[in-house]
Amino acid sequence: MSPRNLVWFYVRRVRARLVQETFAAVGIAIGVALLFAVLVSSRSLSASIAQLTDGLVGHAQHQVVARGPHGFDERLLTRIGSIPGVEAAAPVLQMQANVVGPGGHRVVTLLGADARLAELGGTLLHGWSGGRLAQLQALVLPTSVARPLGVRFGQTVTLEVAGRVRQVTVGAVVGHDDVGPLAETPAVVAPLQLGQQLTGMDGRVSRVFVRAAPDRADAVKRALESLAAGRLDVRPADSEARLFAEAAFPANQSAELFAGISALVGFLFALNAMLLMTRERRRLIAELRMSGYGLRAVLQVVVFDAVVLGVVASLMGVGLGELLSLHVFHPSPGYLSIAFPVGNGRTVQATTIILAVAAGMLAAVLATFVPLAAALRAQALDEVQDDGLDERSGRIGQKRWWLFIGSAACLAITTAILVFAPGSAQLGMGTLVGSMLLTLPVVLTSVLGFAYRLRRRFKSVVPMLAVGELLSAGNRSVGIAAIAAIAVFGSTAIEGAHRDLQRGLDPNAAELNRVAPVWVTPRGVSDTLPTTPFDPAPAIRALARDPSVRAVQVYRGSFLDVGDRRSWVIAPPRGARDPIPPTQVITGSVGHATALLRSGGWFVASQAIATALGAHVGDAITLQSPRPTRLRLAAITTNFGWSPGTLVLNADDYARAWATMDASALQVALMPGVSAQAGLRAVQHALSGQAALAAHTARQREDAARATTRDGLSRLTHIATLVLLAAAFAMAAAMGGMVWQRRRRLADLKLTGIGSRALWHGLLLESAILLGVGCTVGALYGLYGEQLLGRALNTVTGFPVAHSIGATVALGSLALVTLVAGLIAALPGYLAARIPAEAAFRD
């Protein structure tokens, strides 16, 4: 068949089935949109890091990087430059900071650099000559920072960094035209010397990027390692992106898994719409074959249908996904911005569009070809001489045992994954969904069979009509119930696991912060995890004079890169009440480990860090801190919600290993009878001369920590809600479509004297049965999915997960889907039931 004829044929047929075709397109579009939005959201954060890394490192292959926040002596640069084969070496000072302007504040990465960085070929300082940058004595802000803060060139901003507060002039605002995608990153550049002054790190740098001659790269690396002498790290120049990938892995993995569930809902919607058209399509194919068209021509027609549907739906989906991405799934760096220079700019990669469109096309092709397979199996003449009856019922009943065996097999695989390999949760979720979809027809036919046996016990004709129609509808009934099941399953599993995770993290936030009633930390939101060093002496002196204060203890902490994991180092004072959060210990005794930690020479690590270090409880290892230190492992814990992992040692051991007496926070104990609020006011008063420091109660810090983790996990709730709503609308549309197609038969029933009310009630009962069965099966499987996801999160990410059975979530999802879909479907049912009996006489 020529393309022209195919188009002609398609246009004429689509007019007759516009509503169904629209259902199918909308279904696929919803799936594509969710997939697209989630992918954009999760990939934008990684892209932000990658852009900044590329902009910084240019063609550099290596970097010499400090292990602590204090950096290292910049004079090392001269020795690095003298290594044979080194073509360029550029120092960079890097520190997380807060910029405050008229429009609010932003967490940024302050980068101190000079013209040598431009020599590496990165775009960050592209176009800036050495002299120009050195003379600037001001900050260079990207538009993504300057715009929301409401600051422009020449204005002054407040910079909160390293426990200091400084007023700095904005020397330039650079946009996309100047630095390309770096304009979307939170990188604020200062000339190196100014950066050192602002951070109080005169003569020190955080890292040196090195570009070696291509044939000397390995030799240069060996020379750098020798120079580092075990006190600095030598890493690939782009290792920041790898560290971030490891940190963001759990969130991205779960988001992409949930995006897959969203896409599945969309596909089922499309498939359902196709099932509504199965009869017409089968007749069309049969008529084509009866008219002498060969299999090839039939395939051409069907493939053309699929391509048009797929292209239109995918384009709609990408457009809708773009809106979702802009307004709902806006990338949120959350707690990761504390340790990584990650922005909240949106990056739409070509691969994201290709993946989303490919998924849409696949859904369209599968949805189109399922009825085709059925049509090709059928006898052409049978289809043309259709007897007016609906789909033949009873097929599911014949396959009941096969479905049951398949479902049990899938469930057995899921259980095996849950017990032995919870890390393979994606496969487990796939087999669980498979088991659910195989179980559903069996349950639905059993329920309908039971209802069929009861049909003569009711005085009303409504149950008889509803059960009869559902049994007539066969696969379409299963399709609609499957959407309900998937929706409630996805929502229950996702939201249940999310809540378990949140419940696991909440006590951790409390235990970490309630060790002291009042905390003093450097000002700025980046210190939710206290990791910024400051000189504690002036503050301790000021606090010691306050009569409300009983004691002040120094807390220390920072980040330490262990392999590809940026671990969070927690160093509470020896005398802290609970230096190890009691509920977070996995291996070892809390009491014993606490005693060992206080005695010194011992540390506690999260599971992943212990594995990376190859350490078991009791083992001695050398911690690769700024001053390598030998410590023994006292216990293994969860990662306290910091996905790369955690290390706990006492503050004195930290001071020795990091070669610093700086504090990251002060824990203030109050006199008996002084409340936290009164203590807070007293501390704030005592610190009134220390503008760079802020005081908070334990509760305030706890709330901030919870808010940060909630922010990071909020995408899961968004996805769960959207899956639920999309599925509710999908079901409503599918049920509406099914009802609307039956108007002629409803007219026949009206002709026999069955009133509108009885017909409408029958349709409502049908909806209730389908929704009830689908949602209940989905909720039960969702509870199992919650356990699987919870264990996966616990095993793969090391997050503290409070395992529970989320019956409330399941019931809530069930009620929401039933209510929304029921209410929406009631309208077409009502309208269809009011069809005049006269319609029975129309062809």
Partner: protein, 239 residues
């Protein structure tokens, strides 16, 4: 039983000149009598049937069933009238494939408020009378076309209606089955004292009715035997 008087129904058209679907039609059908309305496609047969079934209202005229005027009934009363007083049989059987044959047959009885068990007891003799009692628990898809039509007839007659309306009831059947169904309708009307109106363009059907009328361009006339060839050339006749 059925008394139709000066019935008129016009359909407005885009051109302005209304189509006179039923144009001053009067006829009478007594209890136990089966009357045929014979005519080509587009002659107004179905409109006449819809008026008698109270599916639509006439522009003028009266329809008396058992002495009661039904042409001005409201929707609810019209539905009740169709449920209790009218049995309807058409060429498509419209059986619900998810229900058994007997369930389909008792849909009207249950819809009228009778308990399904009682309805079953009541319908069984009729199914036996129609020769499909042995198929009662089968699904419609397991029945032959003729058996499905007999189930549809059982449904129509289940409430002992005073009026049986049949719209081309043999349209989907072969000659042998058509004859059987027509004979059955005639017999049932006579035995149950039901007034029957059979709308058809099948000349063979005229052999099974008590009286026949010819409907052409909305006008009713007494049927003459030599009229039987007219419906075969409706298009030519109309042009």
């Amino acid at each position: 039983m059925l008394d139709v008087r000066a019935l008129v129904k016009h359909y407005p058209t885009a051109g302005g000149e209304p189509v006179r679907a039923v144009d001053g039609v009067s006829f009478e059908v007594r209890a136990g009598e089966l009357v045929a309305i014979y005519g080509p496609s587009g002659s107004g047969k179905s409109t006449l049937l819809m008026l008698v079934a109270a599916v639509m209202r006439p522009d003028s005229g009266e329809i008396l069933v058992g002495g009661h005027e039904i042409s001005r009934l409201g929707d609810r009363d019209a539905a009740r009238y169709r449920l209790h007083e009218v049995g309807f049989v058409s060429q498509t059987f419209h059986l619900i494939s998810g229900l058994s044959a007997i369930d389909n047959a008792i849909v009207k009885l249950v819809g009228s408020g009778m308990r399904p068990k009682h309805a079953q007891q009541r319908i069984t003799p009729l199914l036996a009378r129609l020769g499909v009692d042995s198929q009662a628990e089968r699904a419609p898809s397991e029945l032959s076309m003729g058996e499905q039509q007999r189930i549809a007839i059982a449904k129509a007659l289940s409430t002992n209606p005073s009026l049986l309306l049949a719209d081309e009831p043999t349209g989907n059947l072969d000659t042998r089955r058509s004859r059987a169904v027509l004979a059955l309708l005639s017999e049932v009307c006579r035995e149950q004292g039901t007034a029957g109106v059979l709308v058809t363009h099948d000349p063979e059907a005229l052999g099974y009715v008590d009286r026949a009328y010819t409907l052409r361009d909305g006008r009713l006339g007494e049927h003459r035997p030599d009229d039987t060839h007219l419906p075969l050339l409706p298009t030519l006749e109309q042009t």
